[in-house]
Amino acid sequence: MDLDALMRCVGTTSCIVTQLTSGMIIGMLLFLIASGVTLIFGVLNVINFAHGSLYMIGAYAAWTFYQLTGSYFISALGAAVAVGMLGVLFERFLMSKVYGSNVLMQLLVCYAVVLISDDLIKIIWGPVSLSMGMPVEFRLPPLRFFGGVVPPFYIFMIVAAMAIGLLLWLVIARTRFGNIVRAAAVNGPMVSALGIRVNLYYAAVFGIGSALAGAAGALAAPVRSLTPGMGFSILIESFIVTVIGGMGSIVGAFVASIIIGLTRSFGSIGFPLFVDGVMFLIMALVLIFKPSGLFGRPHNK
């Protein structure tokens, strides 16, 4: 415990700015992944335990596209689309077979997919960790605000994640597609009985959720090392976020991501050894006092 250090940090603007942005960086990437988990859960009522693998595949795909095209933006887009399509296949051929069966069956299918994709990554890209490196566009000196330091790429990352989140929210809240998706989340058979190909919507939602994970992977690729199994820790954190925010709530995922991001950034100064513990503690407290999460509706099933 080093609460003095925390107080000292809170006393200087430079430290506050730096840690705030670093919290946002951690949080926004987490938000992209968690929003996919929460979207898929909200609509399909399945927990995609393989979401971390989609993130990993997104990062590797972006790496490969970057090697081929040399353009980061094309690579990121390509990775998101590719992982989105992979998600559709995953949903159609595997997950849709276990809809309605108990959560443990879904868990098992996802676990199998996690194992298979980890090994395939190892076979295709090798066991040695890879790194994409900073795209040329972002090889700029860090910016300074009020004495704090913020790298340009991270600004791009935060803005991109927020923009994607906003777009997702608009699509879900304001379009016919979103209208139907929200209806399918409540009562899929009824939507189907109205003549709507609800399976396509399920697949699309899974695809979008996967694309979000792919995009997160692509955004992470320039700054994180790519290894088989890299989706592991991010999966657990995105679950913490999903649970705290409320299963099915995109707004909740956003808020919870920021909470976790700030816990990590300020916690690393104030209580570096208990950061993980504190995250789980927050999760446990939320579950104890408001099981449906900060923004979730009670889940009746």
Partner: protein, 337 residues
């Protein structure tokens, strides 16, 4: 012979079979396999008391596996306890831990229960990792677990250890069996199938759930103790969420509706693991594909499938009888109108 005595007799027979294994000169590798399987088997069997019999899907069961292992290992390393005393101490510690965690968790339903147990497990795991001076952190309890003789039993001897593990294992299985066939077991299933109805019938649902949770945790703790004795150490990943995950897979691979299903699942998973590890370096790929085939092909544990087939056949026969009676009734009805 009543059901209870029959079960006890079967447990005795099981023990005899287990004890015959080394007598018939089975190689140490088979003995090792069985001991490893017994430790994980207890983890899976006890978890199924929650999942299969009570409908409590816990993602955090490995916490008690680890608490048994660590409490026992630390007690032995302190040098102040005999093996039976440390054994008892570990179980009591696990029970107290389960009582606290369970009291908080059992109020929640379904997925929230699962996530809360997961959160507690990760807290516990982080304590083990972080409290380096006490638990050895990520390197686990180093230097081996001392096994002083007690009552003339020397657990440093592999055969005696095997016998000891077999006895502990069979006792735990027998206890679980008694439990699920007792009125308490019926209450558990009543809660699993319809919680409201159980409450309406005057069952103190949280109390029954908590009792079940604690008992199940203790059995998992024994599993942890056996593993500690086997590998002569305790490691943080005993309590990591992947271990809980593995236990769940064992249950599903075997079947959750047949009493010994999780045990069969344990054997399947261990065999899958051992065989793939022996013949390929791509264990994950092979294991993943096998799981997919099992889940999407069979859609349930093999033992559940067998049990269900039998049940269906029985019902079909009964249905045929009913159909015949119905046909007769319909004929009379037609004549009447």
């Amino acid at each position: 012979m009543t059901g209870r005595w029959r079960d006890l007799a079967l447990a005795g027979a099981g023990l005899v079979i287990l004890l015959l294994v080394p007598l018939f000169g089975a190689p140490p590798a088979i003995r090792d396999f069985i001991m490893f399987g017994m430790a994980y088997g207890l983890l899976a069997m006890s978890l199924n008391l929650l999942i299969g019999y009570s409908g409590l899907v816990s993602f955090g069961h490995a916490m008690f596996f680890a608490s048994g292992a660590y409490a026992f290992g630390l007690a032995m390393q302190s040098g102040k306890f005999s093996i039976p005393a440390a054994f008892a101490l570990a179980i009591v510690f696990t029970a107290v831990l389960a009582l606290i965690v369970g009291a908080i968790c059992v109020r929640l339903n379904e997925i929230y229960f699962a996530f809360l147990t997961l959160a507690f497990q990760m807290l516990f795991y982080n304590v083990i990792l972080g409290w380096v001076s006490f638990t050895g952190g990520d390197q686990g309890l180093m230097g081996g677990i001392p096994r002083p003789k007690f009552l003339g039993i020397d657990l440093a001897d592999r055969t005696q250890l095997y016998v000891f593990c077999s006895v502990a294992f069979i006792i735990c299985i027998a206890i679980l069996r008694q439990l699920v066939t007792s009125p308490f077991g019926y209450t558990l299933r009543l809660i699993r199938d319809n919680q409201e109805r159980a409450a309406f019938l005057g069952v103190n649902v949280p109390l029954v759930k908590l009792t079940c949770f604690v008992i199940s945790a203790c059995v998992a703790g024994v599993g942890g103790i056996l593993l500690t004795l086997f590998v002569s150490g305790a490691y943080p990943n005993f309590g990591f969420w992947t271990t809980s995950g593995e236990a769940i897979f064992m249950i599903l691979l075997g079947g959750s509706n047949v009493f010994l299903g999780p045990l069969v699942g344990t054997v399947i998973l261990r065999l899958l693991n051992d065989i793939t590890v022996t013949y390929t370096s791509h264990t994950e790929l092979v294991l993943g594909i096998v799981i997919l085939i099992l889940v999407l092909g069979l859609r349930k544990g093999p033992l559940d499938l067998i049990a269900e087939r039998l049940e269906n056949r029985r019902q079909a026969a009964a249905q045929a009888v009913r159909d015949a009676a119905d046909a007769g009734a319909a004929d009379t009805r037609k004549g009447g109108s």
